[in-house]
Amino acid sequence: MKNVYINSVGSVSAQKTTHATDFLTDIISYNETVIPAIDPVYKDFIPPAAARRMAKGIKMSIVASKLALEKAGLNNVDAIITGTGMGCLRDSEKFLSSIIDNDEAYLTPTPFIQSTHNTVGGQIALEIQCTGYNFTYVHGSNSFESALLDAKLQLELSEAQNILIGGVDEIGDYTILLNKTINHIKKEPVKSSEIINSQTKGAVFGEGANFFVVSNESNHASLARIEALELYNTLPIQSVAQRARQFLKANNLNTADVDALILGNNGDVEFDIYYDELASGDFKNAQQLVYKPWVGEFHTASAFGLVLAAIILKTQKAPREFQLNSIVSSHFKTILLYNQYRGENHSFTLLRQC
């Protein structure tokens, strides 16, 4: 079986990630309950005639995809695999509201056409004229990891050489309202640096698109090797540490081999305890980093975590603001990522230096 490498990344997020050189040195701190992604200059990437019907999620994804392709030196790929928790939420809200407002009459086609989850993958394919395998995974906070797993299997078995994968989710006003009502979003704004210790229910929500060119051929620009990936729909809290140990052991590693642990803490006092199982337990002597306080929680936020891990392995630098504990590794060879949302859809991802 072949190795799988991350050869490039493209990111649109609440941080200055569109031009990746900035994003480790100039971190933006927020004091919000919902953090929108920073809009790039879309006209630089998408013809205005095509962009006018696109929701933010699609536009962010096309920009992130084009950035990833450009950095990988590719015009096209063998496959496009997308993960999204909620798809094109704004168009879904728009056409559902239109059904109610207009008493099920006068429905216009655009929001309906654009509201499906696989619109993103389709629009990217149209933009780059890719006629290869095109698949979209919708599986809560395992959506992106499902896309990554699909790509990894295809690349290991040489069914493809270069695959564009990504995770995208966008903020929708009505969905935000619903999530506030059920306390999945925090009641009060919290500073990014204080989210982890907020001791309140709910998370600060966000949005973003994070895309990667993954390949079974490495080159001088390759960022990291994807060693292994394991997903669980359900995982009792008592089993988290044990599964992490087993995952490492299956890859001939132990907890001491992990130079950095990247966790998906979002400051929700009810569910960050899953992360504490690792942070205060087996990995208490490893450098620990969190990213969701600075980009927000969304179903595919873990794709930003993978961007972070890949860039740390390439540059050997980790942003100080993302630090969860006080331990600083002298080098980064192995990074373990763990993510879950509200106690469901857990993932362990293991990256190694190229």
């Binding site: 205005p48 006018r52 019907r53 006068y106 086609p109 655009t110």
Partner: protein, 85 residues
């Protein structure tokens, strides 16, 4: 008629997400499809729904639509003659 043309231009820009355009960019006789504004078949559907919703006009003959949607002028004339609201 002038007020209706203005209203149509505003609605066309809003409904069809022509973000970079203003009312001043759309001439009364400019072609809406093809070489003019460059609208497409999805826009045509949006305009048909707009006629029905805003003016109570139901278009059933596609050939008829080709003439009605030629320009803001032709749309305004047709709406004035056929509107029920």
């Amino acid at each position: 008629m002038e007020a209706l043309k203005l209203e149509l231009k505003e609605n066309i820009i809003e409904q069809l997400n022509l973000e970079d355009m203003t009312i001043a960019d759309i001439g009364d006789d400019d072609m809406l499809f093809g070489d003019g504004l460059g609208l497409d078949s999805i826009d045509a559907l949006e305009l048909i729904v707009m006629l029905d919703k805003n003016y109570g006009i139901k278009l059933t003959d596609p050939k008829e639509g080709r003439h009605i949607f030629e320009s803001v002028n032709t749309m305004a004339t047709y709406i004035t003659e056929n509107r029920s609201k």
